[in-house]
């Protein structure tokens, strides 16, 4: 069973045995033996990115849209350090990616050799785990273990640093092992006693709310299916974090919209006023909770999470359930049905009346214009003209990201790729490339800000080279819009460095890359322009020139509670105090 192969051969063999079909990479001296092996085979497709950060985000996009780990191959030194932002992004959002880095030969490590960096040292805090392989005999098993670690428990990025001599040397290769071969095996089943307590809370709840997150998506499609089943059966309202959009369909009857800093009024008020909160695969992030001591003060809280450190980290909960979302939901539904499938229907109906009153506030309203394109309007039109299509949406980071989350509806999981935890500008362009690679025939849109787009726009070269018809939909406000908004609200309208003085002509830029550019600055032309973008078979850069000073509302200012939301321009005067200004 064991075979003798060179290290470079082992890399390709192990990737193939793991079912990898695509590697996002960039070559260099320390990975040349592996590139040589890539050259000699056709099973694994290598996508040449334009920057290693792009490789990591592309792998993230691939992983998030397929549920399978994304794979990256980069060289030592600068190749590895360039990948660090992508690793950190994947760690914060629990995205499984496997990064292979070249390293100087073992006998030169520690000598400040050319393109040497302490890659495992640098990436230790931004990976779930990492390895420096010193012996070719161990390479195969380490790669298999890396895939196991990246995808089991709470998923995350892993890195394998492979010195060049280890790639050249021969060693024994053993195929993939069963998962119980590895000592790392986080528990998946929930504690039945706790599940029973949760069911009792569900039965007694008068003002319940489901608060769901990226953990539902990460658990897999079965988790989303079970979540939908439980929501429909109980009739409880449901909201989700930015990361969890799509687990429950936006068209569903019980959907309240996203919660948190720029979430809907009804979602945040329901969180504030609920008596039972059922948190499923979310982690009480500070974008979600607002002021902690005022967070959902009257509720009993159930928390399902696979990561023990997420439970009771920021908010103490009454019923913690450690386990995989799908496993726990399945047990929960079974037990609840077995006990009669009861809810306090009358009380819940009254709760829905209250929620309808909050919905009537129409918190996402904005002042329309027939002169300039309002960014919200642009997203609404994009949504209307692409709804029902086989569609994947990525974003960059900023106001446009929040407007996309607010105004686009996701019906399925794995359709929405955005940098949540790290908030990485530059994520969207390469992520859209990774998604398009995985779904060649689908419509892949990156809702971008002009500033974020500039951070990784070189990847348009990748899109053109591999004929990836990604649509870059730039809401161009000629501002670092989200920064400008904070400066307006928190820093006395002193707009320090929050605009770009020399933006490129995006249409010419598109042409320079060899793709199509479209500019639109008139609301009357917008639908036609979007249709033109959709009809074009190749990549498009769409420069949507929008209102420059629009603010993103609703907003829970830093340091405020859920019931202290700002709903529009009129409500902003003096709303944020100095204590809030210090928070991010």
């Amino acid at each position: 069973m064991a075979e003798t192969l060179t290290g470079a051969e082992i890399v390709i063999r192990a990737l193939r045995d793991q079912g990898v079909d695509t590697v996002f990479g960039y070559p260099g001296g320390a990975v040349l033996p592996i590139y040589d092996e890539i050259f000699k085979q056709n099973d694994i497709r290598h996508i040449l990115v334009r920057h290693e950060q792009g490789a990591a985000h592309a792998a993230e996009g691939y992983a998030r849209s397929t549920g399978r780990p994304g794979v990256v191959l980069v060289t030592s030194g600068p190749g590895a350090t360039n990948a660090v932002t992508g690793l950190t992004d994947a760690l914060m959002d629990s995205i499984p990616i496997v990064v292979l880095t070249g390293q100087v030969p073992t006998f030169m490590i520690g000598n400040d050799a050319f393109q040497e960096a302490d890659t495992v040292g640098i990436t230790r805090p931004c990976t779930k785990h990492n390895w420096l392989v010193k012996d070719t005999d161990q390479l195969g098993d380490i790669i298999h273990k890396a895939f196991h670690v990246a995808t089991s428990g709470r998923p995350g990025p892993v890195l394998i640093d492979i010195p060049k001599d280890v790639q050249f040397a021969t060693g024994t290769y053993h195929g993939p092992r069963p998962s119980d071969f590895w000592s790392y095996n986080p528990r998946r089943k929930g504690d039945p006693e706790r599940i029973a307590q949760a069911v009792a809370l569900i039965e007694a709840a008068e003002r319940p709310v489901f608060y769901t997150g990226g953990g539902v998506i990460n658990s897999g499609p079965e988790a989303s299916r079970l979540l939908r089943e439980l929501v429909e059966a109980t009739g409880f309202p449901i909201t989700s974090t930015l990361m969890g959009l799509g687990a429950y369909p936006a068209s569903g009857r019980h959907w309240l919209g996203m919660l948190g800093m720029h979430g809907t009024y009804e979602a945040n008020m329901a969180m504030h006023g609920c008596d039972v909160m059922i948190c499923v695969g979310a982690r009480f992030d500070d974008r979600i909770t607002g002021r902690l001591d005022a967070f959902s003060p009257g509720s009993r809280k159930i928390h399902i999470d696979i990561d023990p450190s997420s439970i009771n980290k920021v908010v103490r909960v009454d019923v913690p359930i450690l386990g995989d979302v799908a496993e726990v939901l399945r047990e929960m539904i079974a037990l609840w049905r077995e006990r009669g499938g009861r809810t306090r229907a009358d009380a819940v109906a009254a709760w829905w009346q209250q929620i309808e009153a909050w919905k009537a506030v129409d918190c996402l309203r904005y002042k329309p214009s027939d002169r300039i394109i309002k960014p919200q309007y642009a997203i609404q039109r994009l949504e209307a003209l692409t709804r029902g299509m086989d569609r994947y949406v990525c974003t960059e980071v900023g106001q446009h990201q929040m407007w996309a989350a607010q105004f686009m509806g996701f019906e399925e999981p794995n359709r929405w790729m955005t940098s949540g935890g790290l908030g990485t500008m530059g994520y969207g362009v390469p992520a859209s490339i990774g998604v398009q690679i995985a779904h060649p025939d689908a419509l892949v849109i990156n809702v971008a800000g002009e500033a974020s787009f500039l951070m990784t726009m070189q990847e348009m070269g990748t899109a053109v080279q591999y004929r990836l018809p990604v649509k870059q939909f730039i809401l161009n406000n000629e501002r670092l819009g989200m920064v400008r908004q904070w400066q307006e609200l928190l820093h006395g309208e002193r707009y320090a460095h929050s605009w770009s003085e020399a933006l490129p002509d995006f249409v010419k830029l598109a042409e320079a890359f060899g793709c199509k550019g479209i500019r639109c600055d008139n609301p009357a032309d917008l639908d036609d322009a979007i249709a033109e973008m959709l009809a074009h078979p190749g990549p498009v850069i769409f420069d949507c020139v929008v209102e420059k000073h629009e603010n993103c509302f609703p907003m829970i200012p830093s340091g405020k509670a859920h019931n202290e939301m700002l709903l529009g321009e009129a409500s902003t005067q003096g709303a944020i105090d100095a204590g809030g200004a210090v928070l991010v």
Binding site: V120, G121, R124, P125, L132, L292, N312, V582, L583
Partner: protein
Amino acid sequence: MNALHIKPGSSAHSAYDLRSNLDERQERHTIAVLVDNEAGVLARVIGLFSARGYNIDSLTVAEVDHRSHLSRITVVTTGTPEVIDQIKAQLSRMVCVHDVHDLTVEAPHVERELALVKVAGKGQDRVEAMRLSEVFRARVVDTTLESFVFEVSGTSEKIDAFIELMRPLGLVNIARTGIVAITRGPGKLEKRQD
């Protein structure tokens, strides 16, 4: 005074610390962590403590099972009960960690530390150092005509006391191991199931 007029003790000092009140309910816990004896494992554990702002009062590590490449880290830390719980959860989810035991709450246990204490002197001081070392059951592991190296073990308090007594008698250097701990009785720590 800072420009933002933040009350001392308020959560607002750090953008990331949203706890409303700084908690004074600090507790000291001794935690035993069984880890893979692989390169970088200590850096991982220490990195966790520094990255998340936890205290390390004492930390020792050595391989305890050569065949299965397992090391035991004994770490003594202080924090509020919530922080102690977080530390254990953070440790137990690490890929290199097999098991985490909070000896302070799980089982009666003994804690010991070992120190090597060098004392140089002549005449009466030297005699007195020797006499005190017997009281503390310290062993002399090196001697010259004008110095001793004592090996003393016991609780950290006992070692502190010994060092204080040696100070006026010509204390030169101290090397301490930090605390190691083990449960009392015949039982073996079982693998924890959270």
